[in-house]
């Protein structure tokens, strides 16, 4: 079904929060899923898969141990692409200094790609991401994709390398609507539902604070 990008963003934020991510990371997940969807990628499917994989686990276990390490790796031996990506965006200046940042064992690497868009905008230079069978580059607004469909859906990339500045070839413009697969949407709904307080009579009466009757 065709969805607006705002719907995708709102649903992704709630779902990510429902799966235990902090609000700040849930916001990153939402922006990232929106960004992927706007380029025709199955953003909601990837996010649903990741939330199922990392449901309610401590973020620190799937975060880089150190941002100064030569190769970023996570204690759990698999890194969340959202946390890896958010850290990459936070380290945009460092990325340019070092020329590249290499990460190990990143789950669903495509989910980390939107964050290099953020880094590219901050640097004012294109940034590229490469893993086995895939190379993507963006200046933050357009995207170049050279990848096989399998590589884009890879469950875990042994090595993921971000580099800047990168070259842009064969550019793709974002779209303003997205097709969403119903199954992924209902999975996100299931996670999102955890953020809603159950209905109680008291909260129904007092929580919204409306008048008693609107027949006036």
């Amino acid at each position: 079904m065709s969805h607006s990008l705002n719907e995708i963003e709102a649903m992704s934020k709630r779902a990510a929060r429902g799966a235990g991510l902090s609000w700040g990371l849930a916001e990153e997940a939402a922006k990232g899923t929106r960004w992927l969807s706007s380029f025709g990628f199955p953003g909601t499917e990837l996010l649903a898969e990741l939330l199922n994989l990392n449901d309610r686990i401590p973020a620190i276990d799937v975060s880089p141990v150190s941002l100064r390490a030569e190769v970023w790796h996570a204690p759990a031996r698999r890194m969340s692409p959202l946390i890896a990506g958010a850290s990459l965006s936070d380290c945009a200046a460092r990325l340019l200094e070092r020329g590249k940042i290499t990460m190990e064992n990143v789950s669903l690497p495509l989910l980390a790609v939107p964050f290099m868009g953020g880094a590219a905008l901050r640097l004012g230079l294109p940034v590229a991401a490469e893993w086995e069978g895939a190379r993507l580059a963006t200046d933050g607004k357009r995207l170049c994709v050279q990848a096989s469909p399998e590589a884009l859906r890879l469950r875990q990339a042994p090595t993921l390398v971000f580099s800047a500045p990168a070259e842009m070839t064969g550019q793709q413009e974002p779209l303003l609507r997205a097709e969403v697969c119903e199954d992924s949407w209902s999975q996100l709904e299931k996670f999102a539902h955890r953020t809603f307080a159950p209905a109680t009579e008291e909260s129904r009466l007092k929580g919204a604070g409306a008048g008693v009757s609107d027949n006036d």
């Binding site: 719907e7 700040g24 990371l25 936070d90 809603f196 909260s203 919204a208 604070g209 006036d216």
Partner: protein, 563 residues
């Protein structure tokens, strides 16, 4: 003389002041009517297929220089027990969508299956908004009865309510599958915020006038008589009501850059006018005239809520003080508006200060209307966290923005008595008692003061030279508020500098602030978290809109009321 600066965000962004804001030239409905008149938009009713029970649909199209937009209205016969203004309602007296262009019969058919059920339906990128409205039962019945029996409705009853229908939600920006703002943001007519919603409401008011006349005509015809035609002056005096709950409060907190841009535009306008060295006699006379007209609105403004009753008493006494000031001061000296504002700051209540601040912009459209162009926002650039910022700089930033919060005792129950949450019942936003209800685990991040204070504490043992990126890697739980602090560092009016979860918080302050930027008047709180207002009261109806009446319609005409 030194240049007068913008007002300090630590003064402006307090809840008591935000909750005392008044509409101004920069309010979104006035921005819209000025544009519609300037560009000579043309309006037509292209369908009105509504039966004698009040059910059916109607279409109203607005034709602009490049594009047309159509309000498709569905009218329903709603039993009283289903009439609720809350989000949890499932049926309404009327439902609407603003369509991008002119709808075909297929579009109307598709929408007739989706718009009447609102959140339970789906719309497409051709729809720009989805909304609904309920009747003011008393006034509706009075007007239909009066017209059906061949007489005009009673002016006092009209004034006491001010509208025939009130909208209970106007959804835009991609909600329910509608077009995202990004799809239309580059159209000049939608450059200012909420223009889609404001256009939809403006056309809705016209539809409501037609519907009430139609119902009166049907009732008269049933008894073999002819109904009176609603007097255009009476029709014009009525606006569209709006009934608003907590949903608007999170909006302001969740769109900090947008909120900053609204407040900053108004503050820059105030600054510009305060810096005017001398006022021309025409400007002074216009201002004095509008003060008189504004007094009519203030006299008519009614509320039964104790908080608003007290504020209104203050405002009415402010009006009397302003009269004295204006008798004693000709506004012919140097910096007359700054003089007036400084006097107001000392002499008037906050409600009166904001009334004067908005009103003194009126003569200066040429200087201030352009600020409306800067009121929308693109969040892309501000969303990214600057990870290279040092902890020392972050600490400084937190001190600057959140010193009130850092000094607050967050262990004291009264300072965090409430929690914002979303109910599973149609996702209705609610505010609960943290220590009395099982809601804390569902808390939304709508208490930036408390969160900033916690961040400040968490930073205590980090060295100044460490970087924010390192801190966030260890503390993802502070990512949300740290981003906020960086945003406010660049956009100082983005943050409400007050406690949004204390036992004394009044969510209506946030609602009123947002609604004042829409251009609403007659704020009438129904509780501490629910408010009714009036939109487009006194506005020319679309078919009579001209450049002459598009400018100051919000102020009732003196002669008309005297008559």
């Amino acid at each position: 003389m030194n240049e007068i600066l913008c007002r300090d965000p630590n003064t402006v962004m307090r809840l008591a002041r935000l909750g005392s804001m008044h509409q101004s030239r920069l309010s979104f409905m006035r921005v819209l009517t000025r544009r519609l008149a300037r560009e000579q938009w043309r309006f037509e009713q292209t369908a009105f297929e509504i039966d004698e029970t009040g059910q059916g649909h109607a279409v109203y199209t607005a034709h602009g220089p490049e594009r047309s937009y159509s309000l498709i209205a569905f009218a329903h016969d709603l039993p009283p027990e289903k009439r609720s203004d809350r989000v949890i309602a499932e049926a309404w007296d009327a439902t609407f969508t603003l369509f991008d262009g002119v709808p075909t019969a297929e579009d109307i058919d598709r929408l007739s299956r989706n718009i009447p059920v609102q959140e339970a339906g789906r719309v497409s990128g051709s729809e720009l908004s989805v909304s609904r409205a309920n009747r003011s039962v008393r006034l509706w019945e009075h007007v239909v009865t009066a017209l059906a029996s061949g007489v005009q409705p009673d002016r006092a009853q009209i004034d006491a309510v001010g509208y025939l229908m009130r909208t209970t939600a106007v959804y835009g920006s991609g909600k329910l599958g509608a077009a995202d703002r990004e799809m239309i943001a580059d159209r000049p007519e939608f450059r200012a915020p909420f223009q889609v919603e404001m256009l939809s409401v403006y056309l809705t008011r016209w539809f409501v006038m037609d519907l009430v006349q139609h119902m009166a005509n049907c009732r008269a015809a049933a008894t073999g008589t002819t109904a009176a035609k609603l007097d255009i002056e009476i029709a014009r005096s009525m606006g569209i009501g709006n009934s608003t709950g907590l949903g608007m409060a999170p909006f302001l907190l969740n769109h900090p850059v947008l909120f900053n841009n609204w407040v900053a535009a108004r503050e820059r306008a105030i600054q510009t006018v305060r810096n005017i060295a001398e006022a021309s006699p025409e400007d002074v006379s216009l201002f004095r005239g509008l003060v008189e007209r504004s007094k009519i609105t203030i006299a008519k403004w009614h509320s039964d809520h104790p908080i608003q009753i007290e504020k209104l008493a203050g405002l009415r006494s402010d009006v009397a003080k302003t009269d004295h000031y204006l008798e004693a001061h000709a506004l012919t000296g140097m910096n007359p508006w700054d003089g007036l504002y400084r006097w107001a700051e000392d002499a008037l209540t906050v409600e009166g200060q904001e009334w004067i601040a908005s009103l003194m912009l009126e003569p200066y459209g040429a200087l201030v209307d352009g600020y409306a162009e800067e009121m929308s926002a693109d969040n892309t650039a501000t969303f990214r966290i600057s990870g290279a910022m040092t902890i020392g700089d972050l600490r400084g930033l937190l001190h600057e923005i959140y010193s009130w919060a850092i000094e607050t005792d967050w262990q004291a129950p009264q300072n965090k008595a409430r929690a914002w949450y979303v109910s599973e019942e149609k996702l209705e936003p609610r505010l609960g008692e943290r220590f009395e209800e099982p809601i804390e685990e569902y808390e939304q991040p709508l208490a930036p003061g408390r969160d900033a204070a916690m961040l400040y504490r968490a930073l205590a043992h980090w060295p100044d030279e460490a970087q924010v990126a390192e801190f966030l890697l260890r503390h993802p739980e502070h990512r949300h508020v740290l981003r906020r602090a960086q945003i406010v560092g660049r956009a100082p009016y983005a943050e409400i500098r007050d406690n949004t979860i204390s036992d004394r918080v009044l969510p209506i302050d946030m609602l009123r602030c947002k609604l004042s930027f829409f251009g609403a008047t007659q704020f009438d709180p129904r509780s501490d978290r629910w408010v009714r207002i009036c939109m487009y009261g006194n506005a020319p109806l679309p078919f009579e809109l001209t450049s002459e009446n598009a400018e100051f319609w919000v102020f009732p005409n003196l002669q008309e009321t005297a008559a």
